[in-house]
């Protein structure tokens, strides 16, 4: 960051590009080629779409871009699953062929591939619909695709909001450092103190559901919901903070999702950059809400099922998406959209029941594991699993949940800005102490890195 501000303003973007490629290549240098392929494809496709007047040419360029991006995603993320769980059980391929293909495809999933392919596809679609003007400088466009704070797990940014900021010549401003540092500190607290402390308990319960009691399984489900939220929310805040240090604003990705009174509201508060991406680039092009009931039903289910598959190549994610889709449709058909006229507590309980039960599928290795977990959870059985409840963790969790409700529809940074110096430093002190002395001790990488 020091180097960033020491460099002349018009060269800083190039340092960011180098840093972004170094950041991604540091993990596995071979996979840099995938970003280069995505970048090159969309750079030329968008320019061709923009400059061409013939609709066929434009469509072909768009189709080429989408096929390349989705092809890469399909090959690296879904091919192994397709062979093992889809083609093999129905005998589409012989055993020998399957085995050889599986061995050939036993490579690691490139980190962040689902995020940057969606970001770059969004750009090409925007250019196609005339919502964006293509970037002329290929290296600056490469920075848009690979911008390191949000490269591996989002937020998935839009070209029209991120690119102008990357093109802008940013002057050093102490306030950017201050705001960025606050987001980073709060993000570290949420990731290291909440998510990393919950991880071992959740692992313990999900790894041995057969000896856990029903109440422990209920807790396991709730704690996983809190773990994945704090893990991903914490990461998003750190990413927002790092970008802010360099004067770039990334979009808010979470806004107290567990306070939602409906599945629809949940998706407006959970992983906002992805849900708005699906809304703008899938749901609306499919016709949005102004279609027949049957088509709307199909479209909504398609969006949720694809959203499930986006998370991972496993039937569990498909079921997770399907549960959300069905609940969303159920709300649309049977419940009033006006939440003010309905009892909020029962509605909140019903919404959270769907969200948390669906998390069981998300966390389980297979549908079978998930159904066994749920069956045992509702059987109300005792178990022999011993779990120690650390009072420090319970206090941290309480602190996190209270603050999350407090910051609903608000921003942590803006809230701090209104406080006195003493109050601000009390908050910093508390967060620094918790992050340094009370963080989790088990090695647990960011959950969303695997997607």
């Amino acid at each position: 960051m020091v180097l960033y501000y020491l460099l002349p303003k018009n060269t800083r973007w190039f340092l960011l590009l180098l840093a972004s490629y170094f950041f991604y290549g540091f993990w596995k240098i071979e996979y840099l080629s995938l970003i280069v392929i995505s970048t090159t494809t969309d750079y030329f496709a968008a320019r061709l779409i923009y400059s061409s007047k013939a609709q066929v040419k434009r469509k072909l360029a768009l189709a080429f871009s989408l096929s390349m991006n989705l092809g890469l995603l399909a090959f690296f993320k879904y091919s192994g699953w397709f062979i093992e769980d889809v083609a093999n059980p129905v005998g589409l391929l012989g055993d020998d062929v399957s085995l050889k293909l599986m061995r050939f495809m036993s490579f690691a999933l490139p980190v962040g591939i689902s995020f940057y392919t969606f970001q770059t596809m969004g750009y090409t679609i925007d250019v196609y619909y005339g919502k964006a003007t293509p970037e002329r400088n290929p290296l600056k466009f490469a920075l848009f695709v690979s911008y390191f704070p949000q490269l591996v797990a989002g937020p998935i940014e839009r070209f029209n909001t991120l690119m102008p900021q990357l093109n802008r010549e940013v002057s050093y401003d102490y306030r950017n450092i201050q705001h960025g540092a606050r987001y980073i500190l709060y993000g570290l607290f949420i990731k290291m103190c909440i998510a990393d402390n919950l991880a071992p308990i959740v692992d313990q319960i999900f790894n041995q559901p057969d000896i856990a009691s029903s109440s422990q399984l209920v807790w396991g489900m709730i704690l996983f919901g809190l773990q994945i939220y704090s893990d991903f929310h914490g990461y998003s805040l750190i990413a927002i903070g790092v970008a802010k240090l360099m004067g770039v604003d990334l979009m808010k990705n979470f806004d107290a999702p567990y306070s939602s009174l409906s599945i629809r509201e949940f998706w407006s508060r959970w992983h906002i950059s992805l849900s708005t991406w699906f809304r703008d680039y899938l749901f609306i092009p499919l016709g949005g809400s102004r279609v027949s009931t049957l088509k709307l039903t199909v479209n909504i289910m398609a969006v949720f099922l694809i959203s499930g598959l986006w998370h991972g190549a496993n039937w569990t994610f498909v079921v997770w998406g399907a549960l959300h889709g069905l609940a969303y449709l159920g709300e649309r058909w049977f419940l009033s959209s006006d939440t003010k006229n309905t009892l909020s507590v029962p509605r909140w309980i019903a919404t959270m029941a769907v969200v948390f039960i669906a998390w069981i599928f998300f966390r389980s290795d297979s549908i079978n594991d998930a159904t066994l977990y749920i069956a045992r959870m509702f059987a109300w059985e005792s178990g022999s699993l011993s779990i120690s409840w650390d009072p420090v963790l319970i206090s941290l969790l309480g602190l996190f949940l209270l603050s999350d409700i407090h910051f609903r529809n608000r921003d942590f940074d803006e809230w701090l800005q209104t406080k006195s110096s003493l109050q601000r430093w009390s908050v910093y002190g508390l967060l620094i102490f918790c992050t340094t002395a009370l963080s989790g001790t088990v090695n647990h990488p960011f959950i969303y890195f695997q997607f």
Binding site: G429, F433, A437, L438, S439, T441
Partner: protein, 324 residues
């Protein structure tokens, strides 16, 4: 200037956090994650420290339930003996522990146990390494809060199961060993072994013996580098070192796999003995001291001995220790 003032303020908060952590949380944390550090505090004023993995412990059914370290101590009634035991420990852990003894410690001699398996891929890439690496961070002589932050940030090596399996197999595929006048890899040796199919327990045990002991220990082995560091540290701080190469079940290795493996094991022990004897360290090479019947684990190669085995080991170590 504003930013410098804020950095100073953050530093102050860190110092206060460190003080609170040291005073109220450190002991419980060490108890959970690095209990040997607490042990070091307790035993820093003894004369001799015996460092070992699980080989020190008595076994079920023994009449004499003393540890090896207690048996050795019985030969030196006027000396204060203590032991630090941590299952799966090795020279890398002992190195950190020795470094964590304070400068004013009264310890004059460290006995370091060495088992040959700890030099092999199965141990180097064991899943237990992650927790040992984590504990190692707490043994570092930095302010405890810094070590605690590094643990929170997971700034220690922790391989995934896939990574470990891949590294082990790579090692077992790449390293070649002299077997029946030819050079073959560990995996090939296991594959060619003639105890019948994989379900045969004898074949499984033979396989384990090959994987645990079929190594050529050389200077670049991480455990050798750890032992070198131990020697360097001992010479620097003026304490005595005694390296004790633990007995291995040579008879079983011979009957299951053959003399090639036994020769490799003996050569490795000799390599260690010669390397460190030449540096002025007393090395007790007990590789063939204990008969097969005294090894208590029958389905996996370990260094767990019954009371007769432990007594023999203790007597041998005590004889050499008298030279110091």
């Amino acid at each position: 200037m504003v930013i410098l003032r804020k950095i100073a303020a953050v530093f102050l908060v860190l110092v206060i956090s460190g003080w609170i952590f040291d005073r109220y949380l450190l002991r419980d944390f060490l108890d959970d994650h690095a209990e040997q550090k607490l042990q070091v505090e307790k035993i820093k004023n003894c004369d001799v420290v015996y460092m070992s993995a699980s080989s020190n412990f008595p076994q079920y059914g023994d009449d004499d339930t003393r540890k090896i370290s207690q048996m050795v101590a019985s030969y030196f009634p006027n000396q204060r003996f203590e032991a630090i035991n941590k299952p799966a420990s090795h020279a890398g852990v002992f190195k950190r522990l020795m470094n964590s003894f304070p400068e004013n410690s009264e310890v004059s001699t460290f006995i370091i146990t060495i088992n040959l398996r700890s030099f092999g891929a199965d141990w180097i890439y064991s899943e237990l390494e992650s927790s040992l690496n984590k504990a190692n961070l707490m043994y570092s002589n930095r302010p405890a809060i810094i070590n605690r932050v590094l643990i929170g940030l997971q700034a220690y090596e922790s391989l995934t199961e896939e990574e470990r399996t891949s590294l082990r197999n790579e090692y077992w595929d790449d390293q070649t060993l002299p077997v029946s006048d030819a050079l073959i890899s560990v995996n090939k040796w296991c594959a060619e072994y003639k105890w019948g199919d994989w379900k045969n327990p004898k074949r499984q045990l033979a396989d384990q013996f090959i994987k645990q002991y079929a190594i050529i220990i050389q200077e670049d082995n991480p455990r050798i580098q750890d032992l070198d560091a131990l020697v360097h540290e001992a010479q620097h701080s003026g304490v005595n070192l005694l390296f004790h190469i633990l007995p291995e079940n040579l008879e079983k290795a011979d009957s299951l796999v053959g003399s090639d493996l036994v020769e490799i094991m003996k050569d490795n022990a000799q390599f260690i003995e010669e390397r460190y004897s030449s540096k002025g360290i007393i090395v007790v090479n007990n590789i063939d001291l204990v008969p097969s019947e005294s090894f208590t684990d029958k389905d996996f190669p370990t260094e767990h001995y019954d009371q007769r085995g432990r007594q023999a080991v203790a007597s041998s170590v005590a004889q050499q220790l008298k030279k110091l």
